[in-house]
Subunit: 142 residues, 2 copies
DNA sequence: ATTTTATTGAGAATGAATCTCAAATGCATA
DNA sequence: TATGCATTTGAGATTCATTCTCAATAAAAT
């Protein structure tokens, strides 16, 4: 957590952005959690613990966290954008069980390498991978 | 196109749904195109042919086409749900440009093979792949 | 401490997707 | 071919996540 905070500070500084109280509160809330989250989750979490931060500010700050590389946008869920940590978390691909909703995380680098090659062929510069599959986990196949 | 229409008819019949004019117009519009599309694209396309169908009906009909297996939901683009054909189309992965929204399709089987191996390790049975990356196409990098 | 400039909060605005309901249509039956 | 009825449609209203606006506030530069 120390490190995330440092990285965040550096990022803000490098962009000439101010290190404001709401920005700190939001980033702390983000790293209290180790699950996927959406803006509303953050809002409620912050409301419970700290002083309030407006939804508008959360909506404005989350993209900064994404840009800083600390989190990334994940698959949408229930019509909401959801996010997941990237810092300190291996990139991974998701297997999502259509029956029980379980998310299984699996290897990544081999796949990413392959994708990189394909992207190069198209002259495409990747900023974020989106890799996974839906199906049935071992408990939900009968 | 003949076949798609047949499959669609059969699907509707099997669900005791009526083969109405709007449903036919929409499915024809869907299969005129060979690109990814969203509801608005369909609406405009249909309007051009002077066969108006309301947006509400398109929103109601697209899920039927998905359920029938003729199309599937693809990655979101510009805050809109987008769809792609599945019937008669190879699986592929998407590179989506964050700037201009262009979707580049690229190889698939090598990646899919790799993913299959990973899925096997987890004892996971894949029913649908979800493979791609966001970034910038060659025209949108400066 | 004062000035400058970015940031915030609150609510309004936007826009995709969904819902409502009276009118229209498909289709089974006579 | 006409009748009856359940389904479907269109148009607009509604919802809800996200973005925008702008006056008030806070950070940091001087």
């Amino acid at each position: 957590m120390k490190q995330e905070k440092e990285l965040y500070r550096d990022f803000l500084r490098s962009k000439n952005l101010k290190l404001t109280k709401p920005r700190l509160i939001i980033m702390e809330a983000v790293f209290e959690n180790h699950e996927h989250f959406n803006v509303d989750d953050l809002y409620e979490q912050i409301k419970k613990k700290h002083k309030n931060v407006s939804r508008a500010t959360i909506y404005r700050t989350v993209p900064l966290l994404v840009e800083s590389g600390l989190i990334k946008q994940s698959l949408r869920c229930e019509s909401k954008d959801i996010y997941e940590h990237t810092y300190g978390h291996e990139n991974h691909l998701h297997f999502i069980c259509e029956n029980c909703g379980k998310i299984i995380e699996s290897g990544f680098s081999e796949v990413a390498n392959l994708i990189d090659t394909l992207a190069e062929k198209e002259n495409f510069k990747i900023s974020e991978y989106n890799l996974g599959a839906r199906g049935f986990c071992k408990d939900c196949q009968k």
